[in-house]
Symmetry: C2
């Protein structure tokens, strides 16, 4: 991409806006002979979001909701990398490295920024650790596996309290994606439960949390009310005027202070600007890049923006476009045409688009729809939903596959296969509220804990006598290493004395470090020694096994 | 499971042997009123191995080769856990913990051990780190993603050498699974390459390594020779009398000392006994549990064994059964009947089974088969292959889905979607031969290295002058932390002076530890300080950036 006579258009983002820009631009290849189109996307496929909830239940095959970008845009070079930074002055984009850790840079003449936004749980304690987002294909798969795992565990669990938590499924956010997700989840959980013969349908709780008085604020009230009643009838417990505040491994925390014990929590609410966009110097509104009516970013030559990351005023309505797929596609097409017009010195046109309608699927052959100002609900709306989205699904091949999936789905029971992929040994994060148990005496020692913030007490109960406090630990101290070093069960209980955030290192990771890094081994052995000396001075000497030992803060 | 009048049968293993034992035993529920059947399996599905290679190319939908165990055995309680140990004296099995880290134990009256064997790369350096096994569904998915990732990277790579390695795909082992895998891979890579417009088909190399003179030793020579010629004609390079010795990130190493630069290496060869079985005190042959002709393990009341982990002499032929699915299924059925007979005081029968035939699919509508002593090859054998395996696929639902997949596959192009799941930050292992580059000056600093064994030199080249050795590091020392601490590019090159095994901690993991564990932070800061002092004494002081610094061995 260094020759003089070429025009290099680089598109950032593999969502609707990015892919449809490339797709439309490809049509001008004849007219603009030296046009080179590049697209940077982390994944090599476009996700068709409206069908994502059906991946949970498996009524659409896992890969059938997504379309390979190379198939859609055969004349575009796909860079399957992450965008790391944009240098507007030098017209360069830096992206993540591939098989080898080389920095990778690309020069451009025109840049189309269509990076969308990212899920962010910042400011809500515990959500990063325990809430499942619902935006990408991977999210739908993870959620599906979590549901099946929770059911499998509930099926063999004796502890009534844990069993209840395993069978409680909470979705936060009653907008489009939350409602569609809860509807599919509810159907899926209830039909799967039949395969677990110790679970009764009445034990299952599926809860939707919504901050306002009525779900689906995007739709007219009558349709929203219909949807609300329908979900309730199907067994979804809808809790209105209720906000999620945070989460722990055991519960969803509400702003009211109430806790809902659950092991599956989906949050569809928070989205934040992509950090690459946050770092750009151009003008922004609500964290979105301000583009003019031609989809250009004023003040930067060759810079364009579209989709959820762009702030675009519809020139006929005079209002900013909402972040929907319909708008992203229309913007992308206009953008590509205007970009081509710029290169061929033709006339450009301002962006305008009237939304065609809104649809939400409610599972089980029902939906609500508002199309061309008509309101529909129930089976008819569901047929409309399927018809419209099947039409809109890019590529004929995918249309055939999804149509086939839907046909089989009517005939065959839902799939309950749990498709896990191996996790590499590693690190994790955990969040606890005050007074919660981190682990109990007698549990398996499966990880080391490092306190990021908060306070933890280590307690031991002997056969006779009450619980004794062995240690109080603070930020920068760690505990739980003894069970790993000695390969024994936990010999003490760890409990939070305040809200606490912990960093964990799992058994395999800890043992590899301990074995191969002598300085660290020295450090751990010193903690253990100090701890034992301390215990020897204590009025009642305790045994030398697992003590939930804290390191002296350095 | 504590009441007196119940008969608790616990089956370990979710492969053909385990699932078919449960399946057959369920038929005796009426006859044996208080029969309780439990099955412990890590996954909640049975993999139909013969169809696994087709998952690579996507011609069978990802989940359609697997069948949920709960569906197959509706009256069996599934424990979706890993077996950790068996206590024969106390008739107890301990398994891994679920959502909470409790140890989990089950009592049994009869135990059926059907744990199969595990993949093991022990003794072959670098295979654990770089070779992809091919046994489970996850393996097929990972392989598929690797192929697509390598193609995507080759498509945008300028370095000719790296490009060649990215486009070289090596399979080690010319038995059934290796041949079926290489055939599918070859078809898939070549048809996908059309979607990457900078890759030409002639650049692609697919290599099969086989230790003997002729592939497919399980089949008659004439069929094996046919298969060999067919694969060669399709572009597979078959290297006979060639053994894999190990691997690095850059190459497959052969016993001859030759290196084949590649980024995708599949090894179908090594299997090892399950460690749980290795720990059992009962008599073994070739690491397999010796069972008698009734599938009982002599000397232990209520202990049974079947499948790949069992050593069973066919009582008519007088020979041990080979570890195939056909035998596992037949043994399981016999075992279940004999177990039921034991409980009802009926007559038991010895095990005998004559293998029906052998089939190997060669991709692209061809196969080789030997059925009832008839030999077949080409299209007819392929039809036979599909017919027989479709018939054998458990559950009608799956039969319909696979038949549908096969129909669509004829009509539609292969799917090139790359289904990645997020990797948690974590640890890794790497293997290098002597004189190999670990990272280069100017690379991105993406991980910390700890030397498990071997020697590493750190080199720096300035704009003028030759490369200088900055340090020589040994086991227990680490390097590469400066680029992580300073968030800069590598300021030196790391190279192995001998064969070396390294433990790595990725950027996110390292930074979390460094930030939240002050004692470790102190340690790292001390290394950095010592390094800088050392440099100040050196004849030519180097700058204070990334030095690939080693810790003093403690």
């Amino acid at each position: 991409m260094a020759e003089q006579n070429r025009t290099r258009v680089l598109i950032l983002g593999g969502g609707f806006a990015g892919v449809y820009t490339a797709l439309t631009l490809e049509k001008y290849r004849r007219k603009i002979p030296n046009l080179e189109i590049g697209l940077v996307s982390k994944e090599n496929y476009l996700v068709f979001q409206p069908m994502l909830p059906e991946v949970i239940s498996g009524s659409i095959g896992i890969v059938d909701t997504i379309t390979p970008i190379q198939r859609l845009c055969p004349h575009t070079t796909l860079y399957q990398r992450e965008v790391e930074s944009i240098d507007l002055a030098n017209k360069t984009v830096t992206m993540s490295s591939g098989f080898r850790p080389h920095p990778y840079r690309l020069q451009y003449d025109h840049l189309v920024v269509a990076l969308g936004n990212v899920t962010s749980f910042a400011g809500m304690p515990g959500l990063l650790e325990y809430a499942l987002p619902f935006k990408y294909l991977g999210d739908a798969l993870i959620l599906r596996n979590r549901i099946l795992h929770a059911l499998a565990e509930a099926d063999i669990e004796d502890d009534a309290e844990l069993r209840r938590a395993l069978l409680t499924f909470v979705v936060a956010g009653g907008g489009f994606s939350g409602v569609e997700a809860v509807a599919e989840m509810n159907d899926f959980v209830r039909s799967c439960a039949r395969n677990f013969h110790h679970i009764q349908t009445k034990e299952i709780k599926v809860i939707l949390l919504h901050a306002k008085e009525l779900i689906l604020p995007e739709l007219p009230q009558s349709l929203a009310r219909f949807a609300q009643q329908l979900l309730a009838r199907r067994g979804v417990e809808i809790r209105l005027s209720t906000r999620l505040a945070g989460a722990t491994a055991e519960s969803a925390l509400l702003t009211s202070g109430e806790k809902i014990p659950c092991k599956t929590l989906v949050s569809t609410v928070p989205s934040a600007p992509n950090p690459v966009i946050a770092a750009l110097p151009c003008k922004k509104e609500h964290d979105r890049i301000v583009a003019n009516e031609f989809l250009e970013v004023p003040g930067y030559s060759g810079l364009w923006a579209a989709g959820d990351c762009a702030w675009i005023i519809d020139h006929e309505i005079g209002e900013p476009c909402p972040p929907t797929a319909q708008h992203a596609i229309r913007q992308a097409r206009r953008l590509a045409k205007n970009l081509a017009a710029t290169l061929t010195n033709d006339l450009r046109e301002p962006f305008h688009f009237k939304e065609l309608g809104k649809l939400a699927a409610l599972g089980h052959r029902s939906a609500v729809a508002e199309v061309f100002n008509f309101k529909l609900s129930g089976l008819l709306a569901w047929f409309l939903w399927r018809g419209i989205y099947l039409m809109k699904l890019p590529s004929l091949e995918r249309k055939i596959r999804v149509a086939m999936d839907w046909t089989l789905d009517v005939l065959l029971p839902p799939d309950i296969v749990q498709l896990r992929t191996e996790r590499a040994p590693g690190f994790g994060r955990e969040h606890f509220e005050a007074g919660e148990i981190i682990f109990r005496q007698g549990d398996c020692g499966d990880r080391l804990y490092i306190i990021i913030d908060g306070e933890v007490v280590i307690l031991r109960s002997d056969a006779t006598g009450p619980e004794r406090v062995l240690a109080r630990l603070k930020a920068g101290e760690c505990f739980g290493e003894m069970a790993l070093v000695a390969d024994s069960l936990r010999m003490a209980t760890a409990k939070t004395a305040s809200t606490a955030n912990l960093l964990t290192v799992d058994r395999d990771g800890f043992q590899a470090l301990f074995r191969h890094l002598p300085p660290l081994r020295g450090l751990v052995q010193q903690w253990v020694k100090e701890r034992l000396e301390q215990d020897a001075l204590a009025p009642e000497a305790v045994k030398t096994e697992e003590l939930g030992r804290g390191a002296p803060a350095a």
